[in-house]
Symmetry: C2
Subunit: 153 residues, 2 copies
Amino acid sequence: MPRKHSAADAPLRLDNQICFAVYSAAHAFNRVYKPLLDRLGLTYPQYLVMLVLWERDDVPVKDIGEKLFLDSGTLTPLLKRLEAAHLVRRTRSSEDERQVLIALTPQGHALKEKARAVPQSILAASDCSVSELVAMKDEIVALRDRLNAVIGE
Amino acid sequence: MPRKHSAADAPLRLDNQICFAVYSAAHAFNRVYKPLLDRLGLTYPQYLVMLVLWERDDVPVKDIGEKLFLDSGTLTPLLKRLEAAHLVRRTRSSEDERQVLIALTPQGHALKEKARAVPQSILAASDCSVSELVAMKDEIVALRDRLNAVIGE
DNA sequence: TCACATTTAATTGTTCGCAATTGAATGTGC
DNA sequence: GCACATTCAATTGCGAACAATTAAATGTGA
C-alpha cells in the first residue's frame, strides 16, 4: 500500500499548520483592504492606528503600541508618515517629557466618516454572517492571548 | 444616559475587527516561533518555504509562490538567503529557461529532522486540543479562501 | 542630594510583502 | 516564419515589523 506521505511527516505539512492558516488569512485580509484603504490614503497598519485614535485621542505612543502589540520601532516612522499626511500631530507631553502624545488633526477626525464604509465592505467580502465572524474572532483572540501569555513568561 | 461609545461607532472599534484578531494572532505566532526557529537558523517565512520543499523538492519559484500566496518580489531575495545558508540550490530549468528550480541541498534535507520538534512546541504554546486547533484552522482557511476569491474577481 | 535603575521614543540594520517595471524565454495567430 | 502577447524571475522602491542600541527624562534608595 504505497503512501505519498509518511504519517510521521503530518505535523510538518503546510496544510496542517494553523499558523499558516492565520498567516495567509492575514495577507488575504490585507489584499481585500488595500483598494478600500487606498481611497482613504492609508495602509492597513495606519488604519489600525487611526481606529485606536478614533476611539481615544491624545495618547502616548506606548498606549497605541500596547493596543496593537507594536513597538516604537514600527510606530515612530508610521506616525511620522501620518503626521506628514496631516492626519495626526505629535507633541511632547509637558508633564512627562519622555512621552510623545498623538492627537488627531481636524482632517484626522474627518477621515472617520469616510472610513465607515470600510467594515461593511469587509463583511461582504468575507461572505459570512456577523454572528459567525464574531464567534471566530473570539476564538482567534483567545488563541492569540494564550500565545502572548507564553511569550510573556 | 451617557454613553462612552456611540452604537454607530461599533463597526469601527478595534476589538470588533476580525481582521485585527487575525493580524495580531499572526504576530503572536511569529513571536512564539522566533526562538524555536532561531535554533534552525530560519525566519518564519523561510520556515514556510522549507515546509513546502520538504514536501516536494525541485520545484519552480512560481509553485512555491502559489502555495504560500507570495510573489517573486518576496521569494527571490528570500531564496537567495536560503541559498547563501546552503539550504537550497537555484538552477535554471533546461526545459524552460524562464523557470528557476529550487532544490534542497543535503543540509536542507537534514534540517527537516531538527524541525520536527517545532510543531509540538507550538501545540503546547497554543494550550489547546488538536481537534480544536484543526477545527479553527479549517474555519480560518475557509474564510481566507472566500477573501481570496473576492480578490480574484 | 546623588548614584543608579527604569521608562519612553528614536534610531539603525535586517527581513518581509507587494506594486510596478524590466528583460528574457516561450507560446500564438496569421 | 514572424510579429505579438504571455509567462516567469529579477529588480526597484516603499512601508511595515522587530531586535538591539542610544539618549533623555523620570523615579528610587541610601
